[in-house]
């Protein structure tokens, strides 16, 4: 009789620690892969599992190995049919048919892919953007919107009455106020009945009278002190978890004139992805509307938005007008939370910037929950502009909007790590909003 051990119920993921170490090791390479994915994929696709190729740069495991192409070797092979000693066989291409000890995990498979979980993907994505940990956590968190039991309440609907708690309160009160017990009353009644049946004597009559008065008093007391009083009643209390108020729509506005190059579009895309992640966490349903503009604006699909170029001048206000038109047509603001993100290199035709500002002042900012504007600039320009108010006419015009509307954010970005500050306010506001609902 052997010794049996059933290990099937042992904790799983024994090698999770090893996996984490491995991913950390391969971080740079995986980050690059995720970056490519962001560039080539759709905005909403990031927030999922991804299968990625096996990294090989930082995870090589070198050891002293014989090199293939040197020296003399011998191979013993099975299955000879036609060879006799002295026959010559041309060498098979690269490698060779008989490489001893070739089995291993040297990562020789080029097309080898493995799956990163959603959390791991997001970690890698956030890495570049230098998000604070708090934000990372709240973005990754999967919120469930269920009513949750949270103690007891004195008010509520009858279906939520907590019987146990209610009866306990009632019992305590009955003891404290000395509500006569049923047994006590019955004993008295019996005694009275017994005396009534007994022969009629004075002593008995007095006793009977006293007993009757006592019973009467008890009866009255019993009636005054209710068995279950409204003050006893307790209800199960449910914490109303914040339910996402239905739907959000995210407007992506981008200048696609020829001045927006590959790098600018890549940065803009990450900016959009981050906003989308944020919205996805808070709203059940998100529509994304892509509006691109040159000197005229139009709604396009994601593919066209990021990858096709259009020649023409730059009139930013056309995009805003298009956005207003779409909101009026499809997204009434009482049903939709409207978020807008605009990316541009700051170019605008003379005189149009003021028009943009007035459009925003006039109606759009009242409709929008949040409006973020990023101006994508060259890394060299960061030094020149810094935090000054100088800049393109669009920048200056938007400054006035920012001053007036707290839900308008704007910044200049040159690097991925510059993106987060635009959203800082959005994320900072988050915890308090959840609490207050």
């Amino acid at each position: 009789m052997p010794n049996f051990i059933d290990r099937r119920l042992n904790p799983k993921d024994k090698s999770l620690g090893n996996r984490r170490r491995f991913l950390k090791r391969a971080k740079e390479e995986l980050k690059q892969v995720i970056k490519e994915r962001v560039k080539s994929g759709r905005i909403a696709d990031l927030d999922a599992q991804h299968s990625v190729p096996m990294p090989d740069q930082d995870t090589s495991e070198p050891s002293f190995q014989h090199s293939r192409g040197t020296g003399q070797r011998e191979h013993v092979l099975p299955g000879n049919r036609e060879f006799s000693p002295g026959d010559r066989i041309p060498k098979p291409g690269s490698g060779g048919s008989a490489n001893e000890g070739g089995a291993g995990t040297g990562g020789s498979d080029d097309d080898f892919q493995f799956v990163l979980s959603r959390e791991e993907v997001l970690d890698l994505f956030f890495e570049d953007l230098e998000l604070p940990d708090m934000v990372k956590l709240s973005l990754k968190e999967a919120v469930t919107f269920k009513p949750r039991r949270a103690g007891f309440a004195t008010t509520g609907s009858p279906t939520n009455i907590n019987v146990g708690r209610t009866m306990r309160n009632s019992y305590g009160r009955r003891i404290a106020l000395r509500r006569p017990k049923t047994a006590e009353m019955e004993a008295l009644t019996h005694e009275i009945a017994a005396l009534e049946a007994a022969p009629n004597q004075d002593a008995v009559r007095d006793r009977l009278e006293a007993l009757r008065q006592e019973l009467d008093a008890l009866e009255r007391r019993r009636r005054r002190i209710a068995y279950v009083d409204p003050v006893d009643i307790r209800f199960n209390r449910f914490e109303p978890q914040p339910l996402p108020n239905a739907n959000a729509v995210m407007f992506c506005l981008m200048d696609v004139s020829s001045s927006m190059g590959e790098r600018e579009k890549d940065l803009a895309k990450r900016f959009f992805v981050l906003l989308h992640l944020f919205l996805k966490r808070r709203y059940e349903r998100i529509d994304i509307v892509f509006i691109r503009h040159t000197h005229e604006a139009g709604e396009v699909d994601e593919e066209t938005f990021f990858y096709s170029t259009q020649s023409g001048g730059t009139v930013v206000s056309t995009a805003l007008e298009e956005m207003r038109r779409i909101i009026q047509a499809r997204y009434p603001s009482q049903e939709w939370n409207i978020y807008a993100a605009q990316a541009s290199d700051g170019d605008n035709i003379a005189g149009d910037s003021e028009r943009c500002a007035s459009l925003l002042h006039g109606e759009l900012m009242q409709l929008c929950q949040y409006y973020a504007y990023v101006e994508i600039i060259d890394e060299r320009e960061t030094e020149i502009f810094g935090a000054t108010d100088n800049g393109t006419s669009l920048w200056r015009a938007y400054r006035t909007v920012e001053d007036k509307w707290p839900n308008f954010q704007m910044t200049r970005i040159a690097r991925p790590s510059d993106i987060y500050p635009v959203f800082r306010k959005l994320f900072a506001r988050q915890p308090t909003m959840q609490m207050s609902r």
């Binding site: 009789m1 010794n3 996996r19 050891s63 020296g71 299955g79 010559r88």
Partner: protein
């Protein structure tokens, strides 16, 4: 029906502990009484497929310290498994006392019985009796050692930080193949005994001290001879040349902290523990396959396994011992199960029904009739290389149609050197045996010299056999790992083992610029 059912060990394909236990007892009876196997006590553990993957990635140990390379291996194995490129093994067995065998929960009852016979008796007997395992591994202590190792590494990570521990382990892993003693037993002297010896030597020198020697004039005065003397003396003191690089670094490196030395030691112990398994792959699998085949057939003959179950067992068995020919697209190399099993069966045949040829080749065992003892003796006293050299018969070479290819790097063709005929048997057999000599197939790299009081430049020598050099990119990367552990410059010199000519030289000083 009732009568036959009572004899059967199991009927349906679902397993439960009761059935496995019954099958185990029946198997044990045959293993012990018929085959005279001698095993460690068994511990059968049921695991899920995911746990099997876990076990794979930690090189088959139930306990292993944490390192990213195991994570990489897991990801790799998982990929192969999920894509269906590779099925999981039905079992995994650990050379420990008690001997732990993992059974997969997905197995059918027939497979569980097969696996029990294969691992819990075949492998188990081999582990307990083969001389390599007896000499080099301590089955009783390995699990508690791994437990210690795991905790020690975790403690180091806590104390010195993950990157520091990882750096040492990376370097140690790179030298794992050079971290075993191939040609001698590990030194067993305890430090106390060693001190005792040093004291005795000193006493002896004091007793025999004579002041007169001092007054003698120094012989000669040639500095060259002196320097050479000094060098050989210093090599002697360090026990050089030393084949076990990890051992040398652990004991001699000046820059390592005590905990870093302990980490090297852990890696070295693990490497040494697995070294016998690598040297006996064919024999070990051959032994286990032969044992399960014999036992299962016997159970079937006794009517204790149904025909259906036996068919399933035979199908699984023939999958395991399948050997495609070299030009088959499925050819992965010589299948150790197939070769090992064939060798064992062949020995059985030679003992019981020898041909004239066998009597020529194996005069000592042919027709002795006692195949059980012959096999037990072979299993106990050989490793793959010596086993094949000793027992591979011409009949088997013909059956496998083995042929020998000579492969010279400078030629654009391979030449058929020998085939399975009268003139070729010896050559083919010797070459096949050589290909299973692990130490001959790994680069032979030794520490040859270091001047601890001088520049501390560590000199390694690669004894080049048959002109096979090292792959340069991995060589340089590995040398950098050696340098990391040694702390000073390291150079590697390739010397032809036959002629003594220097073939190449490289150094971390040069590669680092």
């Amino acid at each position: 029906m009732a009568k036959s059912a009572s004899k059967l060990l199991f009927e349906s394909s679902d397993w439960n502990f009761d059935k496995i236990s019954r099958a185990y007892d029946a198997i044990e009876e045959i293993a012990v009484e018929d085959l005279h196997l001698d095993t460690y006590p068994n511990q059968l553990e049921i695991i899920s497929s995911e746990q099997m993957l876990d076990a794979y990635s930690s090189i088959g140990m139930p306990l292993m310290y944490q390192h990213w390379s195991f994570g990489k291996r897991f990801v790799f194995e998982e990929h192969l498994y999920r894509k269906g490129h590779r099925g999981l093994a039905y079992e995994l067995v650990i050379n420990s006392n008690p001997c732990i065998t993992y059974l997969m929960e997905e197995n059918t009852m027939a497979i569980q019985a097969l696996v029990t016979a294969h691992a819990a008796f075949g492998h188990n007997h081999f582990f307990k009796n083969n001389y390599l395992f007896r000499q080099w591994t301590d089955a009783g202590a390995i699990l508690s050692y791994m437990d210690f190792a795991k905790k020690y590494v975790a403690r180091c990570e806590e104390r010195y930080g993950l990157p520091a521990v990882e750096a040492i382990l990376d370097s140690a892993h790179a030298l794992m193949e050079q971290g075993v003693f191939r040609y001698r037993r590990p030194p067993r002297l305890s430090s106390e005994k060693e001190r005792e010896r040093a004291r005795e030597r000193l006493e002896y020198e004091e007793q025999t001290y004579s002041d007169l020697w001092r007054t003698l004039p120094k012989s000669g005065g040639e500095g060259g001879a002196d320097a050479a003397d000094e060098a050989s003396e210093r090599r002697r003191k360090l026990n050089l040349p030393e084949e076990n690089l990890l051992y040398f670094l652990e004991k001699t490196s000046i820059v390592l902290e005590p905990w870093q030395r302990e980490l090297l030691r852990i890696v070295r112990v693990v490497a040494q523990y697995f070294y016998p398994q690598r040297q006996t792959k064919v024999m070990n699998e051959g032994c286990a396959t032969f044992v399960h085949y014999t036992i299962m057939n016997k159970l079937f003959d006794q009517g204790r396994i149904s025909e259906g179950a036996m068919l399933e067992i035979l199908q699984s068995h023939s999958n395991v011992v399948f050997q495609p020919a070299f030009d088959d697209p499925r050819y992965p190399g010589l299948n150790p199960y197939a070769l090992g099993f064939a060798l064992m069966q062949d020995i059985q045949r030679i003992c019981t029904e020898p041909t004239a040829e066998d009597r020529d080749w194996f005069p000592d065992i042919a027709g002795n009739g006692d195949w059980r003892d012959t096999l037990l003796d072979a299993w106990a006293n050989h490793r793959d290389e010596s086993f094949i050299l000793q027992y591979l018969s011409p009949a088997l070479m013909r059956k496998f149609r083995l042929f020998l290819l000579a492969d010279k790097a400078s030629n654009s063709y391979l030449e058929v050197a020998s085939i399975h005929n009268e003139r070729g048997y010896e050559n083919v057999r010797a070459a096949l045996a050589r290909s299973y000599d692990v130490s001959a197939n790994q680069p032979n790299i030794q520490v040859v010299d270091v001047d601890l009081l001088g520049d501390r430049h560590l000199r390694l020598q690669h004894n080049v056999k048959n002109g096979i050099l090292l792959d340069e990119s991995t060589r340089d990367a590995t040398l950098r790992h050696v340098r990391h552990l040694w702390g000073y410059d390291v150079s590697l010199i390739g010397v032809d083992a036959k002629t003594g000519a220097t073939l190449y030289e490289c150094s971390t000083a040069a590669t680092d610029g």
